[in-house]
Amino acid sequence: MNDEVVIKPTHGLSALRLREIWEFRELFYFLVWRDIKVRYKQTFLGAAWAIARPLMGMVVLTIVFNKLVGFSVAGVPYLLFTFCGVVAWNFFSEGVSGASQSLLANANLISKVYFPRIIIPAAAILSGLLDFVIAFSLALVLMIYFHFVPTWTIAILPVFVVLTIVTSLGIGFWFSSISVQYRDIGHALPYIIQVLLWITPVGYAANKIPSEYQLLYWMNPIVCVIEGFRWSMLHTGTMPLTLVALSVCVAGVLFVTGLMNFLRMERRFADVI
């Protein structure tokens, strides 16, 4: 019996069984596929929502920051400027809220079937990739419309996409595992996301923040993501490398601690959910 399974009590951190996660890759794929399939079922606009939402975000933020506050960015139409931010922001915020609620939404799977639980929040985040790709294509269309030619920096964009995923996973691991025990997360989440939106340069540029607060400001990894998106797509200014490194570190810490906490709580999910 070479593939004998041994079940015994585990204490502290359960191991991250990568081989096992690999064995369940098809389940992961099907969960992503299900989330995508079900997302716009029984809606009038259907997948057009993937376009409508970032467009609405773009219009609102442009009106507020460009028309009312009077911010502008040299050489870039403000609509395009906010749109790039909104594309990244939506990918992040929808990933985080989807992942945070994912364990509760799949409670019946957790109490009835065995598989590495980490698949669930991860699938919730990755299922947002399709919406992101659609919105991103629209950004390219807008760039053509505004006669905006991207430079080589667009090749760096995938790095920032990965950073978004890592940050979303980190926060998603934290929130989803806590929400199994404490339903408070579900109530607080919309407000947390709303507050995050305003302390993230989605509708404005990061350099509007006074320089003495920049260090604190960049501790939010999504600041780096949004600035990175604009830098690589619209070539706005230069990226402050030390601050980028800070953001990446914070994202890394979020991810590692979130993962560890998730693995610590995982074995009690079925008992308390």
């Binding site: 019996m1 079940i7 079937v113 009690r268 079925a270």
Partner: protein, 417 residues
């Protein structure tokens, strides 16, 4: 032959306090504050733990079909959940030497928005099938579920019967080395149940190891080579299925009580009242499940304030809403007068080979003859079940409520003249 599943000293502890506590930060916070104020050490709350399973050890060889029986709360589901790795044990060790599929529910993860076809793939992969495997079995699954016409309809438009058929069809096409099944078979119509049972039998005969939990001892006798009886988290008996199911039936089932306490305050103002009614076996062991070959004893505990020669206690026995008989302690020829004051216990023995298969209800009666009823309600307070004893005669093993009707099944004399 070596064991395919070996379980050693398995235990699972739940903290009841943690369950009673609510699920919010505030509750956890309250708890913290309270424990700080009362200076309780965490170890002092140890009385709030519950061992759902304790010191369970057994081994199972490849190809065995094991029925797991026990009362509600005996730990059956916990055992299944640990074996299928949904939750971890608190202590002990399990070794499993094969690919396990667990069916704790059929249709887990079904999404109403998706079509039957899509759900087959989703549910199949949730149950651990590979995509290629699902593809190759797809037509078989659809045919098994008799679902060809609706396979591209969203599942939310299915009737519950169709839903269950599809869900079970997927489950039935699992082909693991070890299958763990919870009482999912109890669903669906008779024909469908037959199909499912057939499938389990097939798996067993095909050398697969099957563990399944049920309340239905008949099913265990029919399907299982071996049975395991859990009682209050401990393993009470494991062995040949007939012996274990008999032990279980002897324990009685607690799904419903075998004792009724009278809480009607108006009854207690009368000159006599019935405090409780209970059913026991011939030798006085509380029980509510009997064989036709066993005596049923119905005991009344009375409080008599004013003795009266005309006091009558008894009951109506009903089945399917029809009174099978009325009997009272004054009945000819063994009339018993209750002339003593104070606590009295009276028993009525229903003889062996008198009742038929089925559930009987007891409506207690208490009155003063021709004057007054002392009970303020007339309703069934207790029930018990009778099953035909298959060991009594080879003919009886095939008798069921359907092919053996009747309010009673008395042992009568037949003679050839």
């Amino acid at each position: 032959m070596s064991a395919i599943i070996s379980v050693e000293h398995l235990g699972k502890q739940y903290r009841i306090g943690a369950l009673r506590r609510g699920n919010s930060f505030r509750d956890a916070f309250d708890e913290k504050i309270r424990s700080l104020l009362s200076r309780k050490k965490p170890s002092e709350s140890k009385d709030e733990v519950l061992w759902a399973l304790k010191d369970v050890s057994f081994q199972l060889e490849a190809g065995e079909v094991l029925g797991i029986i026990g009362r509600n709360g005996a730990g059956k589901s916990t055992l299944l959940k640990i074996l299928s790795r949904i939750t971890g044990p608190t202590e002990g060790l399990i070794r499993i030497g094969g690919r396990v599929a667990a069916l704790l529910e059929v249709g887990t993860g079904f999404s109403g928005e998706l079509t039957g076809r899509e759900n087959i793939f989703l549910n199949g992969s949730i149950l651990g099938m590979k995509r290629a495997e699902i593809l190759s079995k797809f037509d078989e699954i659809v045919a098994f579920a008799e679902m060809e016409r609706f396979i591209d309809t969203p599942v939310k438009r299915y009737s519950s019967g169709m839903y269950m058929r599809l869900a079970f069809a997927i489950a039935a096409h699992l082909d693991p080395e070890i299958l763990i099944v919870d009482e999912v078979l109890a669903v669906g119509d008779a024909q469908f149940q037959k199909k499912s049972l057939g499938r389990i039998e097939e798996l067993g005969k095909g050398g697969r190891t099957v563990l399944f939990v049920t309340h239905n001892t008949g099913m265990v006798r029919q399907l299982c080579s071996k049975a395991l009886l859990l009682h209050e988290g401990k393993l009470r008996l494991i062995g040949e299925s007939n012996a274990v199911t008999s032990e279980y039936e002897r324990m009685g089932t607690p799904l419903v009580e075998s004792r009724w306490e009278n809480n009607n305050p108006r009854d207690k103002q009368e000159s006599a009242w019935i405090g409780s009614v209970s059913t026991t076996s011939g030798d006085g062991v509380p029980s509510r499940i009997f064989r036709t070959s066993e005596e049923v004893v119905i005991a009344f505990s009375l409080t008599v304030k004013e003795p009266n020669n005309l006091l009558k206690v008894g009951f109506d026995l009903t089945k399917n809403g029809v009174v099978v008989m009325r009997t009272q302690q004054v009945d000819y020829p063994n009339g018993l007068a209750l002339t003593k004051a104070g606590e009295v216990i009276v028993r009525c023995r229903i003889p062996r080979h008198f009742l038929n298969n089925g559930e009987y209800f007891i409506i207690p009666l208490l009155s003063i003859h021709c004057a007054q009823s002392l009970m303020h309600q007339y309703e069934p307070v207790l029930s018990f079940e009778v099953a035909i004893d298959p060991q009594y005669s080879s003919f009886y093993s095939v008798l069921t409520p359907h092919n053996h009707p009747g309010m009673v099944f008395p042992s009568l004399t037949w003679e050839q003249v």
